[in-house]
Structure formats: structure tokens, C-alpha cells
Point group: C2
Chain length 203, copies 2
Amino acid sequence: MRQGTDRAVSELEKPAYHHGDLRAALLDAALALLAEGQEPSLRAVARRAGVSPMAPYRHYADREALLAAVALRGIEGLKVALEAADAAAAPGEAVIAQAVAYVRYACDHPVLFRLMFGPARPTVEHGICAAAQDVKDVLLTRLAREAPDRFTPDFALGCWSTIHGLAQLVIEGLLAETDPDPLGSGMVERAVRAMLGCPESRV
Amino acid sequence: MRQGTDRAVSELEKPAYHHGDLRAALLDAALALLAEGQEPSLRAVARRAGVSPMAPYRHYADREALLAAVALRGIEGLKVALEAADAAAAPGEAVIAQAVAYVRYACDHPVLFRLMFGPARPTVEHGICAAAQDVKDVLLTRLAREAPDRFTPDFALGCWSTIHGLAQLVIEGLLAETDPDPLGSGMVERAVRAMLGCPESRV
DNA sequence: CGCGAATGTTTACGATGCAAACATGGCGAT
DNA sequence: ATCGCCATGTTTGCATCGTAAACATTCGCG
């Protein structure tokens, strides 16, 4: 696929027949549409990438395959966000920080998030599952250190569920009438603390 | 092909021009499609109800309105399931029983469940939110009795999130590689117990 | 230089959601 | 009983979507 001599991307070069790296461009286009809040149709993605509606099929089996690739990237992004939050957290507060980051990521990219954890069963299914496990593991690792006494696989699953459920409830607006801004108001954080049984709220 | 689609109440009259109670028939048709695991298109619902593709618009503003009505009914069904589980539970085990019932409901009606708590924002949005609160309240009420010491609004939200997140993870297959049958294996129950800190497993 | 394979394009088909115009017939006012 | 209103259904039409099939273009290797 890739070769040494790269006439890869020069600015004033008109769109050649061969796009150079459509595969990545399609991914970016889909991500961009997602970021704008719209669910990306295959045709819209192609349009945005400046190619014909059928072009994507040279790189992805079907719409679902493209979306799955996007979802994978989104999951990786979530993992990165969790790791960053974990690293930046005060001692003993890393789990809470990860939880908040998780929900914030969902709020910042609601459509993407739905794609990531919704019916993304298609082609790359296994890839998605594995990536999701990676995400869980980031949380799990920190959990094992901050709460070694209570820690069990079941407890880890419970924690993940709590955080994931919270994210779902928030982005679907199910908490809107209870609290218009569950993240900003600290409700999310308090709910996680309540479940973990660590009420130190230290402003 | 026109067949005598299941008319619930009437006897042998031919499909009259006026359907009698299309509104309800459409709901049932959508529910039936959902039960068969397919996402109901407006046209498919109309087909199943034995009317023309445009007929539903006399009763629902658009596809989303129909789906929202279906979602509402699904949420009511969940509430009923929770109440039943609560009533049948052994003393002190009602919260766990509700949690398991919640996840089981999701597993039994995955497409419906996604509809209920997915982007069901449209028309009846408020109705959906309120109904969801009703569901939460069933859990919340029992929670206040079984765990009066830890009980706070934040704790209640946390519990709901845990259960809801568990349901999401299970129906999307995110736990499939960890455990192919999280409900049957008891993993769901154990995760909830771990979060609640009540490890009595009393087979 | 030439040719095969990779990559894009065009055309076409069936499905979908919905707008607009038309048809039917239940039912209250006369 | 009759008539006419209008709620309820139907037909037609259009834009969009996913994707199959056939065609066009160019890359890279012999």
C-alpha cells in the first residue's frame, strides 16, 4: 500500500483521480460530521471527502464497516482521555477523575459515543469489544490500586457500569429535568462517590 | 398481498376504509416488529397494520413520534417488570431483584430498550423523561427502605446508573468476551452486589 | 512501453421518510 | 332521510440512502 516516493499531499495540486489516502480522509470526514452532531451517511462522508458516493466501498465493505472504524477511533480517544485524567488527578482521586472524564467525553461527543457503544456489532465487532476492554482496563488498573481491599472483577464491572450508565443517562438527557447540567453541577461526581463510598468531597 | 392481518377485536368484516383504531394498531405493529428484532420503519409498520404508507401520519406527526409512543409503552413495561420483581423478592433482596429484572428486560427486548433510552428525544420527549423517572422511582423507593443509612439522591442516581449501564453493556455485547451470558451466570447480580456492598449471595 | 490491479466514477435499483392532492365514508345539522 | 363537513386513508411524487454492476483512470511493475 505504502511506498517510499510520496507525492502525498501538496497543497495546490488539484484533486487527482487517485485521492492518495482516501481511507484516512473518509475517517476524518466521518469524524467531522459526527463532531457537527449529524449521523454520517455513507454518501455524506463521500461528499465531504470530495469523492463519488461509491468510492468508500473501495476501502470499507459497507457503511457499517466505516462506522465501526470510526467507533474504534472514538474508543481509542476515550482511552486516551481516561489516561490523561488519571495522570493529572490528585492522589486517591484518580478513579473519580476518570469517571468524570468518561462522562465528559460522552457529553463532548454524544453522537460518536452512541456509535462507539451502540449497535456497532458489524464487521470489526471483535475489535470494538477488545478496545472497550482496553478502556475498562484503564479504569480497572487504577481501581486495583486505589481500592485494593474491595477490588474484585465483579466490583470492577460494577464501577464501569456505573460510569458508563451515567454517561448514557446524561447524553440522552434522561437527567435533564433533575439537573440540566449534571456534569457541571457535580452531580455526576457525587453519584460516583456515593457508589464508591468515598464521600470526601474536598471541594 | 393482502391478508387478514390480525385484527384483535372484531369479527369477520373486511378491512374497512376506516380502520377503527389505527393508532393502537400501529403501536402494536411496531411492537411486533421490534419483538422480531427489526428496527421498525414507518412503512413496515404501516404494512404490518395493513394500511398505506402514509396512513400513520394521520395519527403521528412523523416517524419519531410513533417511535416515541412505542418507547413510552416500553418504559411502562419496564416499570411493571420492576414492580413485579420487587413484589416477588425475598426480604432484603428486592433491590437486587429489581436490578436483575431491569437487565433481563433489556436482554429480552434489546431493540425496544435501545429505542426507550436512545435518541428518543423527539416529540414526546418530556413524556419519556417523566416515564424514565417513574422507573427510577420504583427503584428509589425500595432503595430508601433497604438501605436507609446510605440513601441519598446521589446514591439513588448511582444505583440507577449502575443497573442501566449494566443493561447497556450486556445488550450491546460488550461483555460477551468476558462472559457469554452475564445474566445467567450471575455476573450481573454479583456486580450489583459488589457495588452495593452486600455480598450475601445466599444462592 | 505495456498491461494488470488498484482505485474512482457512473448508472441504476429498491427502500425509506415525507409533502401534496385526492378519495371515502361516518355523522351531525337540516 | 338527505346533505355536507371533515377525520381518516390512499395515491403520487420527490429527495435521500445503501449498494450492486459496469465502466474509466491511473499506479507501478514487468
